[in-house]
Amino acid sequence: MHVLLVEDDPELGPRLSDRLRGAGFAVELATSRSEAEDWPDVDRMAAIILDLGLPDGDGIGLLRDWRNARVETPILILTARGSWQDKVEGLNAGADDFVVKPVRFEELQARLNALFRRQQGSRSNVMEVGDLALDPMTRTVEQAGKPLSVSKQEFRLLHLFMRRAGQVMSQGDILDDLYELDAERELNTVEVLVGRLRRKIGRERIVTLRGMGYRFEK
């Protein structure tokens, strides 16, 4: 899953990026409001983590601009401002959650997953599609109640498929979600990864639509 982290602190930004990557997210780091403003396709991100105190402008303004531009990506504010006045302003400007620094990474991850669940209309931590069950917090997958061993990239791909079950996704969409912008991208990587995942969960679960992409069957 692709996450945009907007954080200007030169120490905290890279650290948080590493932790998010370690949790299976593809992370893009923007260190200023202008950089975040110009970020392409923010509406295709799985989530945005936004700091409010940016060096070249207020994060609340950026949040409003995104919402006015009909960007519906879940946005979690991660800030050093702890008053309820700031929280109410941030939430009413369009944020989906508000976390005050410092925060344990496991709590941040839980809040992000709660946003994903909320987006899917689910109240459970575990995502279920058919006989497949995926827990983003514990990073475990079960099929028909039995544990399934998947690699980090396979987990990411399965997570993406399960979040967008029934939807057609091109190889480009999948690459955008799985890899960061500056990562080396090759379309056949997706083919290889889909092939490996098919062997583990069953070929029929992922349908290839020639010239269009893939669809994960519900």
Partner: protein
């Protein structure tokens, strides 16, 4: 107590000074006027009697029978009226005494007139003490003719007391008029101070940002100085809040880095113990930072903040935010009992308090959180947040306001919310109570004052 009678007040001082001045002035006028009038009327009286006794001497003659008679009556008719208090008498040796028609009874002592010089004395007259004048003249056949004229002393006393009574009445009236005028002058003179007092009241109650209005040159510099102080104070408060925010940023971000480093340390077997210590300490630091910064935010802005809480408007953005923060819970607002209420409180602090209570209720509620505004009486207003969660045991209730009290570690949060809420309530003079009710767990914030505007 009337404003006039407040001990030590300028009004009382001015009133006492004016009263003393009026009493002394009126008293001096009274003494002077009655003294001058008495002297004048006595002099006039004596002069008149001397004229009368001289006239009596001129008019007295002897008839052909040798008896005393007057060539005509005295010009003052009061000597003709019986017992009028005005009497005359002429006596001569061997002759029948001649007396005024007014002297029906009694007689005057002829020895009063014992000298050719006109003499006067106070003697007993026919109708009481009388001022008598007399002189003698040699009679044609030898011996003396005694001319005596008398007027009752009471007549002079009556004139003087009548004048004194009239004068006293007029002076009392004048004194009352002067006092009333003095009061009007006091009120007129002190009116700018009254306006200043009202302006300070508006400032203290948050209706104004500074002392408003034009003032006389004598107190305008004082008002300007006070306004400068108020502005300086407001700037300090704003600066303090900004500094509190800056302090938060400057502490929290490095603390976030430390937390991350401690978590990374915990991923190694050797560093697990150290990581736990560091994370515990980081959590304690975060807790203290949040608590002290929250206190700094609300405790600096109390006086002269010119803020008002407009209900239910103040709750609407908070409830919208709560619906985003707890999307699986229903947040209901019931302001039907008292719509459009204005409280003389800092709206930012009151919002912070409501937000903490609503967020806390949102964390614990099963499905629903209800915010009710209740007007209990003409001077009492309660905001009540009720959730349908499990509530608190008696033991939990007794520790609910303690710093760091968390009854479910999985619910998240710092355990500071209710401690901060209680401090805000104390600072705003509100009563915060937690209770288990039939409708669910309730947090009530009660405001009592005569200044509730509906």
């Amino acid at each position: 107590m009337s404003r006039l009678l407040v001990p030590g007040s300028l009004r009382l001082r001015f009133l006492l000074a004016i009263s003393l001045w009026v009493v002394l002035g009126i008293g001096a006028i009274w003494f002077s006027a009655t003294g001058i009038f008495t002297k004048h009327i006595e002099a006039s009286y004596h002069e008149e009697l001397e004229v009368h006794v001289r006239e009596l001497g001129r008019l007295a003659t002897f008839g052909e029978d040798g008896e005393l008679r007057l060539s005509r009556p005295l010009s003052d008719p009061r000597y003709e009226e019986p017992m009028s208090g005005f009497y005359w008498q002429i006596t001569a040796d061997g002759r029948k005494p001649l007396r005024s028609q007014s002297m029906v009874i009694g007689k005057l002592d002829e020895q009063i007139a014992h000298s050719p010089e006109i003499l006067h004395t106070l003697e007993k007259g026919p109708s009481g003490p009388a001022i008598t004048y007399g002189f003698t003249r040699p009679a044609p056949g030898g011996g003396d003719i005694h001319f005596v004229i008398a007027t009752d002393q009471s007549e002079l006393d009556r004139l003087i007391s009548s004048f004194t009574r009239d004068l006293t009445l007029w002076l009392v009236g004048l004194g009352a008029l002067l006092l009333a005028t003095g009061l009007a002058i006091i009120n007129f003179g002190l009116y700018p101070l009254d306006r200043l007092s009202q302006a300070i009241g508006r400032l203290r109650h948050g209706d104004a940002y500074e002392l408003e209005g034009e003032y006389p040159v004598e107190i305008a510099p004082l008002v300007a100085d006070l306004n400068a102080y108020v502005h300086q104070n407001a700037e300090m408060v704003a600066k303090s809040r900004v500094q509190a925010g800056n302090l938060a940023h400057s502490l929290r971000t490095p603390l976030a880095v430390m937390t991350d480093e401690a978590e990374r340390l915990g991923e190694t077997a050797a560093g697990a113990e150290s990581s736990k210590v560091l994370l515990d300490q980081a959590r304690a630091m975060k807790q203290q930072i949040e608590y002290q910064l929250a206190r700094a935010r609300f405790s600096t802005g109390q006086p002269y903040n010119a803020r008002r809480v407009h209900l239910p408007e103040v709750a609407e953005p908070i409830l919208r935010a709560m619906k985003r923060l707890h999307p699986d819970k229903r947040f209901l607002l019931d302001a039907s009992q008292c719509d459009s209420v204005v409280l003389p409180l800092d709206d930012v602090d009151y919002s912070e308090l409501l937000s903490i209570l609503l967020d806390n209720a949102g964390k614990w509620a099963k499905r629903e959180v209800r915010l009710e505004f209740l007007c209990d009486s003409s001077s009492s207003f309660t905001a009540r947040v009720t959730d349908d969660g499990p509530g608190m045991s008696e033991q939990e209730l007794s520790h609910a306001f303690e710093i760091g009290s968390r009854f479910d570690q999985e619910k998240g949060g710092s355990g500071l919310g209710l401690a901060i809420a209680r401090d805000i309530a104390d600072a705003l003079g509100l009563l915060l109570e937690l209770s288990n009710t039939p409708a669910g767990f309730a947090a009530s914030v009660c405001f009592r004052s005569s200044e509730i505007n509906r």
